[in-house]
Amino acid sequence: MTEPINENSNEAAETILICEDSIEGILTGVYEAYELRRPHHTIRLQIGEEQNLRLFCVYHKVQPNEEKSSKVMRTIYRRFGEDAYTQICQALVSYDMEKADAVYHTIVTGISGSYRGNLMDHLSNRYVHKVFQLSRNTGIEIHHLLGFLRFKELQNGILLARYHPKNDVMALLMPHFADRLPGEDFAIYDEGRKYYAVHPKGKQWYFVRGELPFAQEQEIYTKQEAEYQMLYRHFCSSIAIAERKNLDLQRNMLPFRFRKYMTEFVQID
């Protein structure tokens, strides 16, 4: 007698898709999750390798695919609107490892059509709420960095900015500076993730992976650069009203972690 084939042997288990930590990687994961044609509550998206493999789970590794991820991006933009698109993109560059699953299930919620109106309004849904939190966290950091990033003019005329963001926001900062300084050669270097974005004068900007060939101590500036740094330092100290001194308030508004790269706070010998 033949053994009855257990047709449900695959369905009881959870499927976990392991994605690369990038917008392309995660959105490819979303696309492939839909390709599986399984109930969405049985699928989870995850970044990187699982430390403890779980029983009764099937793991699939997802290869980033530009075509699939851009299809998902287009769907998000068209169906959910620009606001939701921005929030999802901001959540996707967050440092939080749960972002992939949160974004996946938010998209599922939106596509299923069970909510009327704006997708991101439905904060009572825990996945939407998570995406909202991540997007807010990233958004605040971007807003800070737009102001706190500092360029220095190197001897070859290039403006270089160093920083170390918690979230991977380089791609969200560059358009602002490219619009602001179209006639400048500039570069921004992420010291934590070891890659930089380069903008040549009058051209399209691009990423370069790898460390900068010189350390911060070895940077050579123009003479003018040193003068302007001093001018700015003096400007910042002259502008303060002594009778209103409030270092607590200053620390609230400008956390210490940003000050390392800001010329007016760096201790000069």
Binding site: L123, S124, G147, E184, C236, I239, I241, R244, L247, L249
Partner: protein
């Protein structure tokens, strides 16, 4: 022709003098207009403005805030740069200002330029100099970032008009809330000379907005609007008078912002108050809180203060104070109330109110959801119900609520400006400190 009496100054020396001279003008945000670069120059602007740094007094540094010159023919008693003071005087050249602006800007130190000036020779002469700088910055240096320019009271209308075509924001300081105060402390200025250009800028902006509807590429006149500033504590006006003036400016002159600057005693003048407790920072803080209530929360000045109660409560912020005095309007049901009613609940701000309205379309909201949305439940819980139930069993009674709302550490952040806890405990609920 250059008549030089003092030794020639370096840019650094000038910058120190003229930044120090400009620092009491707090009307310098970089907000109000969203503009992309057009590729031919340098710069863009963001609607919300960007804070590039914070000084040791905790205030935002956003623009290169300088005076063109601190020479002045006026003798305003509260001002460091008054004619009677013997201080080092300096004047920038237009190119120096333009170079500083561009070099700071490309290093991402600033959002743009804030240019004011002492009065050199005459108001119109000074305005002409300021106009030259701004035109040069825009046309020769191709600067497309933010420019905030002060209009000089008494200057020629045509000059103000011309400058406005190149600036993003213009402002004229009201300085003192009443004509009497102005007469007392700044006899060279008068209300008419200040309000006339304000009215003119308002009219020109309206005209410009009509033009832009017909022709999209018409040159813009002061697109980020007007603002102004009042000094708080130099003259004996009460909070109600000051707030009414601000309300009038918003309603009748279409101003974008009114700023309040706590009086700092920089001159030894008999007409200026002594202020032993230092600058009135808490009063300034309350005025800003009330100002936001006027602009974003639909309050009227008469709802917050009155002739009988002309001063703010030192223990409670104006919104809590209003709520506690109008307990008949509460509790508010979160799942039913409209936007305007939600805004009036202490602990619910503009963003939270909007999110509540969005989130309740799909689900009935409970207190956990409100916490996620960002409502400050510690304050709001006395005033709201979710699905008919309050969070804890609280009494809707004034004394009880106020006792719970007041957390001395939280409500009085300026423990260093002379306000002691002994002073606070002398007062009963909802009694305010008279100006002294």
């Amino acid at each position: 022709m250059e008549l030089r009496i003092a030794p020639k100054m370096t840019t650094m020396q000038k910058l120190e003098i003229l930044t120090d001279a400009a620092k009491y003008d707090v009307a310098c945000t970089s907000s109000g207009i969203d503009r992309s670069g057009d590729g031919t120059g340098m710069g863009n602007t963001k609607l919300a403005g960007i804070c590039h740094s914070f000084s040791s007094d905790g205030r935002c540094i956003s623009l290169l805030k300088i005076l063109f010159t601190n020479e002045c023919i006026f003798d305003c008693r509260y001002c460091r740069n008054r004619r009677a003071n013997d201080i080092p005087r300096a004047t920038f050249t237009p190119d120096e200002i333009c170079e500083l602006t561009m070099q700071f800007y490309r290093r991402n130190y600033i959002e743009g330029l804030f240019l004011s000036s002492g009065i050199l020779i005459s108001p119109s002469y000074t305005m002409e100099l300021i106009c030259q700088v701004v035109v040069r910055l825009r046309t020769q240096y191709h600067f497309q970032g933010y420019i905030h320019v002060k209009a000089i009271p008494g200057a020629d209308a045509e000059l103000v008009h011309r400058t406005g075509l190149y600036a993003d924001r213009m402002s004229i300081n009201l300085e003192l809330p009443t004509a009497e105060g102005l007469r007392m402390l700044a006899p060279n200025k008068n209300r008419k000379k200040i309000l006339t250009p304000m009215r003119m800028i308002q009219a020109l902006r309206e005209e410009n907005q009509n033009e832009l509807m017909l022709y999209r590429h018409a040159p813009k006149f002061v697109p980020a609007g007007q603002s102004t500033q009042m000094i708080i504590g130099a003259t004996p006006e009460n909070d109600y008078q000051i707030l009414s003036v601000a309300e009038g400016l918003y309603q009748k002159f279409g101003l974008k912002r009114v700023f309040y600057s706590a009086f700092v005693r920089v001159n030894d003048d008999a007409m200026l108050p002594a202020l032993p407790g230092g600058p009135p920072l808490l009063r300034e803080h309350r005025l800003y809180q009330a100002d936001f209530l006027l602009r974003y929360y639909g309050f009227l000045a008469a709802e917050l203060l009155s002739e009988e109660r002309p001063h703010f409560n030192i223990l409670l912020d104006p919104k809590c104070d209003w709520a506690v005095r109008h307990l008949e309007q509460f509790p508010v049901e979160i799942n039913r109330a409209d936007y305007r009613t939600l805004l009036r609940v202490p602990g619910i701000g503009v963003k939270s109110a909007r999110r509540i309205i969005g989130a309740r379309k799909s689900a009935l909201l409970g207190f956990d959801d409100l916490k996620k949305i960002g409502v400050v439940l510690k304050r709001a819980l006395y005033f709201i119900t979710c699905g008919g139930k309050m969070m804890y069993r609280t009494k809707l009674e004034e004394d009880y609520i106020v006792r719970n709302l007041i957390d001395p550490k939280e409500q009085v952040p300026f423990s260093k400006d002379g306000m002691t806890y002994r002073q606070l405990s002398l007062f009963d609920t909802a009694v305010s400190v008279p100006f002294s």
